[in-house]
Point group: D2
Chain length 319, copies 4
């Protein structure tokens, strides 16, 4: 952790300096990756190389600073929850979406069933499995996977996104905890769609093949208030973006969200595939890939790199 | 809730317009107060007038726009947790402070014991009772109440802050749940000071008499990176301020923090005495007083007013 | 409750006296039924008549003392858990059975998921839904419904037991919480069979049509150490019977088991269909039917009648 | 575990045979003790010798069969909960006692706070810490320690019982979790006496010095329906005994009660000092001492010995 709060002397407008900081962040991330561990609860994920690390930073002007494994494809996993939420806000609206899912950080692990049984019929937020399944149950009534992947491509400004069939099969075959969540939600009368169709779409969206560049793009679009800066296409209304950013901030890194907020302070979302997407309002989008995870399920390398970059480039939302 | 995301035409630099918006916020808050209910779990709190409402907005230039009950004194209650945290950061540092308390939103009520028994020996964050008691146990080893109230006066830029003796006695006499928390923390070997002394200081700090102006001042100091804008005195190092802001954002309104983040989006802290303090970086500090609370224990009027003001003056951290 | 511990003068060997006590118990039960409420979480159950009440007491000599609705058929519901456990002990043995389910009262409601998520991968005991589903997953690998219903007929000494198709369909269509439990068990790697087949058998066994006489028979067989007293057929080895009795005692009435143990003190099992079976070692079997349930999900009339009969005929295991 | 249910050929009326079985039980217990571990959460308890083991069996005729360390004194710990409950039943009655504590096994560890925070304001049963503290809060209003120790001496038929001062000081100095429980109960408005006085008496009763003989005596008195078989003195009304027996059965061995019921099947109570008392209605009282505990906090040697003796002498309540 950065326990010093002293900012180094640094010219934020010097492209060479920025590039140097991002390279340092890359090196920090690659080092930190060795302390993490590749996820193995889904067989396909266990095939990743724990030593891989890459970082990609993009701005509205089209500058792209990348180091390491930024083109390698991996499964998006929980980062798809941001896409699902965006689709729900765009197509169903704020009021309908949040009639069926809350907006509170849960303090529990991403796949916890506890609060559902104890505290609330509605899932705590769209960034945990229960909430994302709930969101997908709403979408499942009028969108199919073709619609969703089209939206994902636009949201990530990446036409190369495809379903990773192996990951999808692995997800589907080992998704019993998510099935338990879906049936528990239906037993409480809150699930909004058919459980099988909902889960199938949920598993498919978790299995989208992205790379660090796609994740930088996604965050760049969010940083640009929902508009593709290169084509000018409005993908999602700017009014919904603040909701997405706020929930990424409070709930984006599972039960490490609070600490990440203090140490990094950028609205972000992580996935157990090893990705993190981090969106700096009006400035840039950042994507990292590092499949070695820390004990909270977040990319060890990604966090180290983002902490460095946030500190030196002063990207913290609250500093 | 503001379900429209359309921003009205509005000149942010027109002082008359700003004043008009704050008056509307005051009127909204006063209306919403009638839907809330005065806290009664401490006898002294039950004496408040649920119809009271006031709002005070201050900026670095010394402008002060106030409507309603902004000078009436009431007990600071949980807002003192921000002062305790600030004192701990200033006098003990980041590393020592967060060796003994975590930084995660808990998803539970402010006085919950659940997570302590289930999930973690360390309290989840300094903004819930367990975490604030833990912070106070550290401070209790080298600060007495005189030291703490002096720091509180500086932090709130308000020399008139005194202990409300009636509230303090009421807190002390009915503080069994907090005693249970302190003893549970000690049984786990994590409490850092004597439980009696810790609780006495904790109860005293909850019983400080403030008003909406003091709360606006506190947030103005935070907005000004820890420096009193009028005297130039550095009360707390700017490096600690981002930690305070981030934890106010993720944990400041109990288990309504996530929703408040989406709807208001300003780092804030509430207390069951009816106060809310909200800090807009580089711009202003806002204090509200409305003792009628919603079901989460947050000021009903305060939230309504802050939502209006955040929306129209575009103070949301993420919009 | 019987707060007097004075035993009335009473000749336990006088058949007329015994008959009188059972009639009183019937009358108490019929009264108490009016305080209960018919289960409605499954549509078919809601069709029962809350005013119905019947009691049947049978001994090894073939004496049968019955009052009220003792021939009316209703669904066995959770009482089938005793049959499932007996089948598992008989066909798989003690060691195998309790390698996959614990023997502890849970302190939670019958359909709770809490402990599974918090405290233990194995279900707490075979008398709650999670434990009974787990037991059925073992049986499902080598028994089909024909085998199970044959065993149930022998265990209840009742050849008229059939599947209630309406209840079965109702169970199956509304069994999402049980599905959630089965998938959660499989996600933890403890479920021993296919979830769909397991649940289908579980729902079918809950839907067996019994009456108060069948339940008296079942308990009579248990009271007679597993042997049909009329045919001499050994249905289950006496060695397994003490395990069944002990688990009925500690876990048989959901989270009312402890109080029932104190007030009635007979190994028993209840079902939300309104039945209770109670087995008095070496003496008799008792079956009651009263679909109006108390707030714990146990037959209000059944408990009142059994408390009376236990007190006056001194059937308490521990008095 | 005894997975065979076959009873050996055995003449229950042959005193030599009985003595032989008890000696075998002693040897089993001594062996099993080596698998356990002495409690260390209270410094004084950690001084015990984990290899110690003793068993004492007494009947109404005054026969006493003892092997091993049956005269060594140790602290009674949780077994005092039976004495506290007996005193409450005797002096306050059933109705008053159970207005303030429930009768349900909790499924949680002996010192759990969980259910108090989650599920119920009243403690689950008098055999866990929360319930015993609650019972003591009632007694504290009209009994002092002299009264309680006098009752304990009569209940254990042992005039040599004294307070172990070292254990008492150790309990008092490390009793923070129990303090937390007491304050939590008072915060819910259910504690019936002063917390300090209640806890002092509770700690003192846990610190009574007993030996395996005292524990055999206590169970003999319970087996004899509350009357001292040697003096004929009625210590507690027989009507209360069935309540004590039933709660010992369902709740006496913490969260191992259910399994112990199946495998041993004798109403019993254990303490972390290493004692177990087991009461066989109308037959005998058994006391064991073995401070090496299993992972549930119950004497490893005691359970092994009692399982053997119950099996071979057919003392199981339900076989």
């Amino acid at each position: 952790m950065y326990f010093t709060y002293e900012q180094p002397e640094f010219d934020k407008n010097d492209p060479g300096e920025i590039r140097r900081v991002i390279r340092e962040a890359y090196e920090n991330g690659r080092e930190a990756a060795f302390l993490g561990r590749v996820a193995d609860y889904i067989p396909e994920l266990a095939k990743a190389d724990g030593g891989d690390f890459g970082i990609c930073v993009k701005n509205m002007a089209g500058d792209n600073i990348s180091f390491g494994e930024t083109e390698k494809r991996f499964s998006i996993q929980s980062i798809s929850k941001v896409i699902n939420l965006a689709a729900s806000l765009k197509f169903l609206g704020f009021r309908e979406t949040f009639s069926h899912v809350k907006m509170e950080p849960s303090g529990d692990a991403f796949n916890s069933i506890l609060k559902l049984d104890l505290a609330s019929d509605l899932p705590y937020n769209p960034m945990i499995n229960a909430g994302a399944i709930q969101v997908m149950s709403m979408l499942s009534n009028f969108m199919d996977f073709d619609d969703l992947i089209s939206f994902a491509k636009a949201f990530c400004m990446d036409d190369s996104i495809v379903l990773n069939e192996e990951v999808y099969c692995s997800e589907r075959d080992t998704g019993d905890r998510n099935r338990a969540i879906a049936y528990l939600l239906r037993s409480k009368g809150v699930l909004q769609g058919d459980p099988d169709k909902t889960l199938d779409l949920y598993f498919r969206m978790c299995s989208l093949n992205v790379n660090a560049e796609s994740l930088a793009n996604m965050s760049l679009l969010i940083a640009n208030n929902g508009t593709n800066p290169f084509t000018g296409k409005h993908v999602i209304h700017p009014g919904y973006i603040r909701t997405i950013r706020s929930l990424m901030y409070t709930c984006g890194l599972y039960d490490e969200s609070g600490e990440y907020g203090v140490l990094v302070g950028i609205p972000s979302k992580s996935g157990v595939g090893g990705g993190i997407t981090a969106s700096v309002k009006d400035r840039c989008g950042i994507g990292t890939y590092g499949p070695a995870l820390n004990e909270k399920g977040n990319s060890a390398g990604g966090i180290a790199a983002l902490q460095h970059i946030s500190h030196l480039l002063q990207l913290n939302s609250f500093c």
